[in-house]
């Protein structure tokens, strides 16, 4: 049997040692009426056959190697250097478990210590853990941590309406049994207001009952808020004794002032863009960075430096007294598995790019996105909403329903169009969120603009 080395002779010898005649006897504790049910599964396949089946399934999908991708909205098609997957696939990393036995897990532990260090460098924070499941659950864990830091006495959380809609949804799911009041994201967006007016309105929701305010920068609509604007918001949040949580695109931090420089208490985000394939939504990693003073209130695995019995530098999982396997029902989070391998990919990516490479990637995204926005702004019927600086995503008002435009882009041009914002913001019905990264060539961008123009010019009944 595949993957099972025991031969019939082995089994016979082992059964004799155990003292039973058949393998079936080992299951006598299972109630007889339920024992050995039939499983209605397709028949087994050889490796050759299974690959043939999987290749057929894979080929039914239009993948990004064959499309020009202008879709982002929280999952991004960035370049992944070959070295990342090469290292990742080393069995010693790939097939290891959580490094609970540090003497024989130094590879994972040191790599994760370096990951923590680079996340701190990127975000401008003092401590980072070794990841949550994704950006959305990292955001929910930030809420839980804020409740802990404010000693469980505060019951209100302010969510920016331009925090990723799925992150907001996950925060609601996680906290449904906690008796919290989640505010800030129910009203229509005031797209015409200035950043100052908008942030003031948000800050006015923060009071003495508020545990934290969560803001995404650049926000879900791609808009960038300046460090000065963020610093002012942080000041108002802190004045109420609440925590300022910032969700951020890690690639943007190759270029922009990090949240640690403008008053963030917790910085979270989706780390997928750092060297992880887009992979239909997962596995990704949620990065999570904080201040040293709050680290004991956090959840998730953390690696610390120490020495061995001979005084040599080494690394161990530390502060585990916070975690569920020690604290059980008193733990603030139940997290156990993290996204260790994805964090390793992120570490390799950050080290490979280095300080100059990551900045280059961010600049390419910025310039290409602006070039695309400039071209589209000139098209009849389209309007780019660009009252604010933006990074790699921007909002376009379209002359036709977004779903119809996207269908035409996909079927007629092999272009994956932008995110239909009307799904989450009724007031932005007919608006598309376009994303441009370093992967998009000038030709692709120009073809997108031409395609959009052509589709807008089609007679109504054709689109």
């Amino acid at each position: 049997m595949i993957y099972i080395p025991n031969t019939d002779a082995d089994r016979a010898a082992m059964l004799a040692t155990v003292g039973v005649a058949t393998v079936e006897e080992l299951f006598h504790d299972v109630p007889e009426a339920y024992r050995f049910p039939s499983l209605q599964l397709p028949p087994p396949l050889s490796e050759m056959e299974v690959l043939r089946e999987l290749e057929a399934l894979a080929s039914e999908n239009d993948d990004l190697h064959h499309l020009a991708c202008f879709l982002g909205a929280g999952a991004y098609y960035h370049f992944v250097p070959s070295i990342v997957d090469f290292i990742l696939q080393r069995s010693e990393f790939f097939t290891a478990y959580t490094p609970y036995q540090p003497e024989i897990s130094q590879g994972t532990l040191q790599a994760h210590f370096e990951y923590q260090s680079m996340i701190c460098a990127l975000t401008g924070m003092e401590v980072a853990n070794v990841s949550h499941y994704d950006g959305a659950t990292a955001t929910a864990e930030a809420v839980i941590m804020a409740l802990q830091v404010t000693r469980g006495k505060r019951t209100k959380v302010v969510l920016s309406p331009t925090l990723h809609p799925q992150y907001r949804a996950v925060v609601r799911t996680y906290t449904q049994g906690m008796g919290l009041q989640l505010v800030g994201d129910g009203d229509p967006l005031a797209m015409e207001s200035s950043a100052a007016e908008e942030l003031a309105a948000l800050a006015s929701l923060v009071d003495g009952q508020t545990a934290c305010l969560i803001f995404q920068n650049p926000d879900f609509l791609g808009r960038l808020y300046t460090p000065a604007e963020m610093q002012a918001l942080a000041g108002q949040v802190h004045a109420a004794g609440a925590l300022f949580v910032v969700a951020v695109d890690p690639i943007s931090l190759g270029l922009f002032v990090p949240p640690g420089r403008y008053g963030a208490d917790i910085v979270v985000g989706e780390g997928q863009a750092l060297g992880n394939p887009i992979s239909f939504g997962g596995p990704y990693l949620g990065f999570f960075a904080m201040k040293m003073a709050d680290v004991r209130k956090s959840s998730g695995r953390i690696v610390g430096q120490t020495v061995d019995a001979e005084g040599r530098r080494g690394f161990v999982l530390t502060l585990s007294t916070r975690e569920q396997h020690i604290r059980r029902e008193k733990a603030s989070s139940n997290i156990c598995s993290n996204q260790a391998l994805n964090a390793l990919a992120a570490a390799i990516y950050m080290a490979a790019m280095g300080k100059h490479g990551l900045r280059t990637v961010a600049e390419l995204c910025y310039h290409k996105a602006h070039y695309a926005a400039d071209l589209i702004a000139r098209l009849p019927g389209y309007q780019v909403l660009s009252g604010r600086p933006f990074f790699k995503e921007f909002v376009v008002r379209c002359p036709r329903p977004v779903s119809l435009i996207n269908q035409a882009l996909l079927e007629d041009y092999g272009i994956l169009g932008g995110y239909d914002l009307g799904q989450d913001y009724p007031e932005l019905s007919g608006h598309m969120l376009l994303c441009v990264t370093e992967m998009n060539t000038r030709e692709e961008i120009e073809e997108l603009a031409e395609a959009l123009a052509e589709i807008a010019g089609r007679p109504q009944e054709v689109v």
Binding site: L64, A96, Y97, G304, Q305, G354
Partner: protein
């Protein structure tokens, strides 16, 4: 000399990746927003490769040696899984693409939902949870919401056995519910008398019970149907922690036994690699009455013009999303590949051989180390104690560290909490008799060394990359970042 940190091999001006020059007109950068420093390392590609290869040499892994870590199911990870997950038609898909352009991926998810439902005996499955604990949170929130919808909003108690993983009580608290611990009986089962008196007190407030079966002692509860009946009679729901599913593939379906909810650990039972602690996948199966409460979107199949169309569907009474997008898809592809290769017969063989291997090891170690429930047939794992007659100063930790010198990863230690000096041993089905014998021989030799040369154990490991590490110092000094977190 250990491997330097990546920052220590950094030299200004080095870079491992060449990037294209900008092919579009440049736009001025926004004022006041640009960072003046980015303290990432600067290394060349060859230095980077050597760095990580050197680090990898300091890891024990399934592919380098036996890894009998109880409750973690460190089985071999088939390489075909990796080929499958890396097909561009899977790895290069955007999660928000129109469903018309991802029908193959959605078909795979649909089929996996169905196969897991069949294996567990459930009516519906969500693939969204990212790990076992995430599946637990999902399951308990489903139970809570279902009961609330029945008007039972006062119910707030979850029973958790004293042998449970820490995630069970932590999940309960995180869901806003109260944990009541249930003791185990002399034979390692749920103590029925204690359960009855706890239900007399808490029955009216009961949300349900979380039970791992086989439990963390590696034992199949001898009164499982009775336990489930009692919980149901009290109006509660039965949650199954599927951490130990590797013992019961094709042996019993938890849904048929009466479990209402169960999470599967695809990274344990279904062979996807652990990657140093993750990613996992904690798919959740539920009985018919709870299908509408699953987090979504899940994949549904509809027929249109004679063809199958796969669509996203948010269940009507869903607890909501537990994660962005659709779950750890790459992990799902690997699990799907594994199930398709084994089929029903292969899956049953997995559990039969996992259980045989564990019983064989238990038989070989009986009399050498105390095995509190060694009189029973174990399932896929068993719990011994690191207590050696004539070597009173030797602890489980010493035995664990000494095992490293023999090239073995130690078993899970000091868990479950109800067994002092626990050594929890799970060999899995992918290990040969020769490996099991070598491991048993090592443990027998170590017991002997404990009496004749205890210092050898106390100072172990001797052949690992490092000697014992000072964990107390790590927690006290808190060096968590290169350069000491001077952000």
């Amino acid at each position: 000399m250990g491997e330097p940190l990546i920052y220590e091999i950094s030299r200004p001006g080095r870079q491992a990746v060449a990037l294209p020059t900008c092919d579009v007109p440049q736009t001025p950068l926004p004022e006041g927003c640009i960072r003046d420093e980015l303290p990432l390392p600067e290394v060349s590609e060859v230095d980077l490769v050597r760095h990580y290869v050197h680090l990898s040499h300091m890891n024990h892994a399934v592919d380098t040696g036996f890894y009998p870590l109880g409750s973690c199911t460190m089985k071999y990870n088939p390489k075909v899984n990796e080929a499958a997950a890396r097909l561009p038609g899977f790895a290069a898909l955007h999660p928000l693409q129109p469903p018309s352009s991802t029908q193959g991926a959605m078909a795979l998810m649909y089929e996996l939902q169905c196969m897991l439902a069949e294996i567990g005996g459930f009516a519906g499955v969500t693939l969204q949870p990212a790990a076992g604990a995430h599946g637990e949170l999902t399951g308990v929130l489903i139970m809570r919401k279902y009961l609330h919808d029945q008007g039972e909003t006062h119910r707030h108690v979850i029973l958790v056995p004293d042998s449970a993983h820490g995630t069970n009580p932590a999940t309960t608290s995180m869901s806003g519910l109260k944990v009541v611990e249930v003791p185990s009986d002399r034979r390692g089962n749920v103590d029925l008398a204690a359960l009855k008196s706890l239900l007399d007190i808490h029955g009216p407030n009961l949300v349900g019970m979380m039970l791992t079966n086989p439990n963390t002692l590696g034992l199949f509860d001898e009164h499982i149907t009775e336990v489930i009946r009692m919980v149901h009679d009290a109006g509660g729901l039965m949650y199954g922690d599927g951490a130990n599913f590797n013992a019961i593939l094709g042996i019993v379906k938890p849904g048929e036994l009466g479990f209402d909810v169960l999470h599967y650990n695809l990274h344990k039972t279904f062979s996807t690699p652990h990657g140093g602690g993750g990613p996992g996948s904690g798919a959740v199966g539920v009985v018919e009455k709870l299908v509408d409460y699953l987090p979504g979107p899940i994949v549904v199949r509809q027929e249109a013009e004679g063809a199958d169309i796969y669509q996203w569907h948010m269940p009507a009474r869903s607890i909501g999303r537990v994660k962005a997008f659709h779950g750890n898809f790459g992990v799902l592809v690997r699990a799907y590949t594994y199930i398709r290769m084994l089929g029903a017969e292969g899956l049953r063989a997995v559990s039969e051989n996992a259980v045989l291997n564990a019983n064989y090891l238990q038989a070989r170690l009986r009399g050498v180390y105390p095995i509190p429930h060694g009189d029973r047939t174990c399932m896929h794992e068993f719990v011994a104690q690191g207590i050696i007659k004539g070597a009173a100063e030797i602890r489980t930790l010493d035995i664990a560290k000494r095992l490293m010198d023999f090239g073995f990863h130690p078993p899970t230690v000091y868990f479950p909490l109800i067994v002092p000096e626990a050594l929890m041993i799970e060999p899995t089905e992918t290990e040969s008799k020769e490996t099991l014998d070598a491991f048993a021989d090592a443990l027998i030799q170590i017991a002997d060394e404990a009496r004749t040369n205890p210092e050898l154990l106390k100072t172990a490991p001797h052949r690992a990359p490092l000697r014992r590490l000072d964990e107390v110092r790590a927690a006290k000094e808190l060096i968590l970042c290169y350069g000491g977190c001077a952000a």
